[in-house]
């Protein structure tokens, strides 16, 4: 049973991956944008660290690699789920997916992952080429528990992000234009995920939001280079799991209600 379900979604992932290769130029352009952001921020932080005595245990390497990790994960654009779900509902295209033996949101999430996995690896590769030459590596002890911890944090974070944007997408069932809600969520992730400023520089009350909100939880990947990452790892995983459970329950309730009022126009 589980194997059959896995095979179905793996097929969706594979076909989305294969179809995305057709857009080679787009993949390259998206990767270049992320590489550009990482490079600019690296130059900015290099300048800041050379001018100011930063009173923190966050070194230049930690600050830049954290931001790089954020933008690499951002390359998997789960934020597009909002547009896709919105389009499916407004255009009636949802009927095509609903007529297949798949869960609608499951299909959308896996399809997005398959479409963007290419865009993810290019910035990762570029970061591992540019950053070590330009600023070097942060101080890390690469152990198996650490690597597994990073893997968990990335996967669970992606899932939190996917669920968050799916939930906003479902708002299209009720709202004529759900874009303002999307903007709030998106900027929440941007601000609390550690995109432009390392989390360690945040004031204490904002750190609480970073650690306990779903926005921050979707981007815990930006914490993986901090010296206390392994100490905090159980808390981070727990927070992500709690948010996944909450979001799954809320989405389930919202989707059931939304599905009842689905309208698809015909001829």
């Amino acid at each position: 049973m589980i194997s059959a379900v896995f095979k179905k979604y793996f097929a969706v992932f594979s076909i989305a991956f294969k179809a995305s290769i057709y857009f080679r130029n787009r993949i390259l352009a998206q990767a270049l944008v992320q590489i550009f952001r990482i490079t600019i921020l690296m130059l900015v932080y290099s300048f800041v660290y050379s001018q100011v005595n930063v009173n923190s245990d966050v070194t230049l390497q930690v600050a830049v690699w954290s931001i790089a990790a954020y933008f690499c994960v951002l390359s998997i654009r789960f934020k597009n789920l909002f547009n896709d779900i919105n389009f499916d509902i407004k255009s009636g295209n949802i009927e095509v997916i609903l007529s297949r033996p798949l869960n609608y949101l499951g299909y959308r999430i896996v399809n997005q992952l398959g479409s963007d996995i290419n865009s993810f690896f290019l910035p990762v590769l570029a970061s591992f080429i540019i950053l070590p030459i330009a600023i070097g590596f942060p101080e890390l002890t690469l152990t198996l528990p650490y690597l597994l911890g990073v893997l968990f944090i990335v996967i669970l974070g992606l899932l939190v992000g996917a669920l968050l944007y799916s939930l906003v997408g479902l708002a299209a069932f009720w709202l004529e234009d759900a874009t303002p809600v999307y903007w709030i969520i998106d900027k929440g992730v941007l601000l609390l995920g550690g995109s432009y400023l390392p989390i360690a520089f945040y004031p204490e009350f904002m750190k609480l939001l970073v650690y306990y909100s779903p926005f921050g939880a979707s981007m815990f990947v930006s914490h993986i280079f901090y010296s206390d990452f392994m100490t905090r790892l159980p808390l981070l995983i727990l927070v992500q799991l709690v948010w996944i459970i909450i979001l799954v329950i809320v989405i389930n309730i919202v989707y059931r209600k939304a599905y009842k009022q689905l309208t698809v126009n015909g001829g």
Binding site: K7, K8, A11, K18, Y22, E95, Q261
Partner: protein, 319 residues
């Protein structure tokens, strides 16, 4: 022995609540899209489900396929309740929504078939045999490795229908499958569907605006309007009663001043163009064409079925 029902619908209704503004205040208005309809479709039957725009046919088809939830009533399709057993139901039905595509746009046709084989859990050998059969039947062999985006509309629609039939569904729902197709592509699709129905006994539930689809494909027709069933009868009987009048358009080499023939109705002359209608129940169309070709120098001739809206109007007038 009596045939089993592939579709069983009882007291089906769908009411949509639509937001409206009353004097600047938000309010809600209710629209009855489907109004207490009941019918059965036998296994192996080809049913035409027709009606004008907004009649409720697409809403009905979407309730039958489990996409929309009915406001009231019950539906059994292929033995499954479309509301409570949607997961099982979708494994046994095929759907084609003429204005939307199930094919992966940038990949070759065969990739969409590979995907569907996994979605419908088809065993590898069975899948290959079925795919080869459908490629042959629908003439897809000549373009199966071309990206979908490069196909003509006719080629795409054939691939869409074949894809919907890949998992050997007990019943296939075709919502406007011939929309936008030229006459040759329409005929090719109709022929293949008829062949499949005969060879494999697939039940076909068809909606179309094209009377030709209904005339050539279906054994029984249900006409709906304002969410209610207006007519439910044998297509042949319906055809004899309402679809026998064909429109004829002639382009002649010379201008015609007078044209009179008791066999023709609604004659209109416009220079070299001649339009009239013929009741094919009373007069054989082939004899009329022969007479016209003998009497006039004809440049072009066009014979068309009545428009769906005209047929429905006539049904109303005679009821």
């Amino acid at each position: 022995m009596e045939m089993q029902s592939a579709v069983r619908v009882r007291g089906l209704s769908k009411i949509f609540t639509v937001p409206v503004k009353k004097g600047g205040n938000p309010a809600a208005s209710q629209i009855v899209a489907v109004d207490n309809i009941s019918f059965d479709v036998k296994e192996g039957e080809v049913l035409g489900f027709i009606g004008p725009n907004g009649a409720g046919k697409s809403t009905t088809i979407k309730m039958l396929t489990g996409i929309l939830i009915p406001s009231s009533g019950s539906i059994k399709v292929a033995g499954y309740d479309s509301q409570t057993e949607r997961g099982k139901l979708v494994m046994h039905i095929g759907t084609v929504f003429g204005q939307r595509s199930q094919l992966v746009y940038n990949l070759p046709v065969t990739d969409s078939f590979d995907l569907f084989a996994k979605l419908y859990e088809l065993e590898s050998k069975k899948y290959q045999a079925r795919r080869d059969y459908l490629f042959e039947a629908f003439g897809i062999n000549e373009y199966f490795n071309q990206p979908v985006r490069k196909l003509s509309l006719g080629q795409r629609m054939r691939a869409e229908v074949a894809l919907a039939l890949l998992h050997e569904p007990k019943i296939v729902f075709l919502d406007e499958p011939t929309i936008g197709l030229d006459i040759v592509a329409k005929q090719a699709l109709r022929d293949t569907l008829l062949k499949l129905n005969k060879e494999q006994g697939t039940t076909i539930f068809l909606t179309s605006h094209d009377i030709g689809d209904i005339e050539m494909l279906t054994q029984r027709t249900i006409v709906v309007n304002h969410g209610q069933i207006v007519v439910d009868e044998d297509t042949l009987k319906l055809k004899n009663r309402y679809m026998q009048v064909k429109s004829v358009h002639l382009s002649l080499k010379e201008k015609v001043k007078e044209f009179a023939d008791k066999r023709f109705m609604d004659i209109r002359i416009n220079g070299k163009e001649l339009n009239f209608k013929v009741d094919t129940k009373k007069h054989a169309i082939n004899e009329i064409i022969k007479d016209l070709l003998n009497s006039y120098q004809v440049e072009d001739i066009d014979i068309t079925n009545p428009e769906l809206e005209d047929v429905i109007r006539e049904i109303y007038q005679t009821k």
